[in-house]
Symmetry: C2
Subunit: 340 residues, 2 copies
């Protein structure tokens, strides 16, 4: 079993290692922290920690560095719930202060989060599965080309260009539009697919091509609403912390470009209500991100949908700060979006 003090030793090892990026030795510990015991005693404690695989030595005669398990223990039990710095609070207020447009808010949020953590920040768009149709617009662009626009009560807008072989009659278009609006408004994304299918079934052959194309486009758009989407910022920070990766940061940057990977990673993390959660090092190996840690939390959109946001960085990151930052930004964002 690891003693109380040993855990304290683990804490300072994590802290010092993260701060200095150098293996931490017993002597350095007694110098920098007032444990009131000698270096030899710390060494004994470190032997315990090594026994438990919470720390390890890069080579026989050097200081120790935390293992993934050590970081895990630190995050779960040892990280102090330090509040954000005053500067960080101010940054949140000023950055997110005024703006109502969803795209805009999320863009600001992700930049903010990357700035106060110095990591890659990621914000997922709300999934909108429960979003209700507010309006459908059909707009002719040219003779053969029209635009379908889908608007939901969450303020999200999706458009799509539809191509029709023969010129489109304006009246037909108008009729189709009001029919779509009558039937779709108020229904949610799931229900809408069925409604569109029904409309297609009962259609006058004259309008067939038009209706077919338009309903198909709308169906696609509904499908897109389920597709999660995300915004990212601060990828350059990975280059700053390059040394923390054994090889190159190439695979990490690649994974970041594959947004699907991040969405899966996000979705597999368990985040309890109102909390914040971390996925550390090798825990992310299956995503090709075995040398990185991800810290995630939830926020609630105006429609009440949950979505995630968080940061990603090298396993050797400042967990205390990042946990606090992600938690604070998630809360602030929920408040910001929920105020209607």
């Amino acid at each position: 079993m690891v003693s109380e003090r040993s855990l304290e030793v683990l804490r300072v090892i994590v802290q010092d290692y993260v701060a200095s990026r150098e293996p931490v030795g017993s002597k350095a510990i007694v110098e920098r922290h007032s444990f009131g015991v000698s270096a030899a005693t710390i060494r004994n404690d470190m032997a315990q920690l090594e026994e438990e695989e919470l720390i390890s030595a890069p080579h026989t005669s050097s200081g120790r560095i935390p293992t993934d398990k050590g970081y895990r223990m630190f995050v779960d039990q040892l990280a102090d719930r330090r509040p954000l710095s005053a500067a960080q609070r101010v940054a949140i207020e000023t950055f997110l202060g005024q703006s109502v447009d969803l795209d805009d808010v999320l863009m600001r949020t992700v930049r903010l989060l990357s700035q106060i953590t110095n990591q890659v920040a990621i914000v997922q768009y709300p999934s909108f599965a429960r979003a209700q149709v507010r309006h459908v617009e059909l707009v002719g662009l040219t003779d053969h080309r029209l635009l379908t626009v889908l608007i939901t009560d969450t303020g999200r807008v999706e458009q799509r260009v539809v191509e029709i072989e023969h010129p489109v009659d304006a009246h037909l278009l108008e009729r189709l539009k009001s029919r779509l609006n009558t039937q779709l408004i108020g229904s949610n994304v799931d229900a809408s697919a069925a409604i569109l299918a029904a409309i297609r079934a009962e259609t006058d052959p004259d309008e067939e091509v038009l209706v077919d194309r338009v309903t198909q486009a709308l169906a696609d758009q509904f499908a897109e609403y389920r597709h999660d989407k995300l915004v990212m910022a601060g990828a350059a920070n990975l280059a700053r912390t390059e040394d923390d990766f054994t090889g190159s940061i190439y695979p990490v940057l690649e994974a970041l470009e594959q947004q699907v990977v991040l969405l899966r990673l996000f979705s597999e993390m368990v985040v309890e209500r109102g909390g914040v959660s971390a996925s550390i090092g090798r825990e992310n190996e299956s995503f090709g991100l075995g040398e990185t840690s991800v810290i995630a939390s939830n926020y609630r959109s105006s429609a009440g949908e949950l979505a995630r946001l968080g940061v990603l960085g090298p396993t050797r990151m400042d967990y205390s700060n990042n946990l606090a930052a992600v938690r604070a930004v998630a809360r602030y964002l929920s408040r910001q979006l929920g105020d209607d």
Copy 2:
């Protein structure tokens, strides 16, 4: 003056150096290329090239590498107009084959370009200054919140959320909407600003707040149409070619996140009609991109607007291939978008 053969020597130095990333010596040149002269002769030629600052030696007794000026000469006079490989042609066809939505096409294009060049690819959205208003939609979201949607004949859609202190009367909204549509439809982005101002001036005090907010939002949206926007892909490729940068790739990644920088860089490049152009190394210094080269071309959107696209990578890049790829993709994209 540099002799004919000397230029040929410069060509092989650029080619070999780009391929091997190692300084090229006289002996290696006579071995790999059949110049029919001895190494000593090549050395004399190299002395000429060095005199003209087209090549330089990293250290006294090593091979030579091209200077920025050498690359410039290569691009302007020596790069062979090699056609794309069959594989690359196929990639273009299959990647961009079917899809009409602008967002979608540009996204595919940028991915494609980054794939066939192994560089960072950048595609600018058409500027839409000449785009005409096709439709304006106002949609109530909640009592206090509504959405303004602006649709142009290019198929681009911009939306914005507007917040109003008091509940919005549906009839008022309807009236405002038809008024806006009547006056704005058909006018271009520039003219619309004036029209909106006029509407605001002649407004009944009852509607004042509503009209004010809505016109303001629309004005913002028009402004945004002038803001250029771009999509990017393949940033990970920078990490692959890390060694080509003296320090870290951090400043480069940072510049890439500042899209404004790229837009300025793009806009300052002179690209002649139907051509492709390169900006090499130090020529980009003022953008913090002194160790990178940018290859750009133009494409023409369906509305006839010009926009740029290109790739960015280390100065030591395969110019022949990248010039060909950018040219081909730009042409293909123009054709794809112009077919209405």
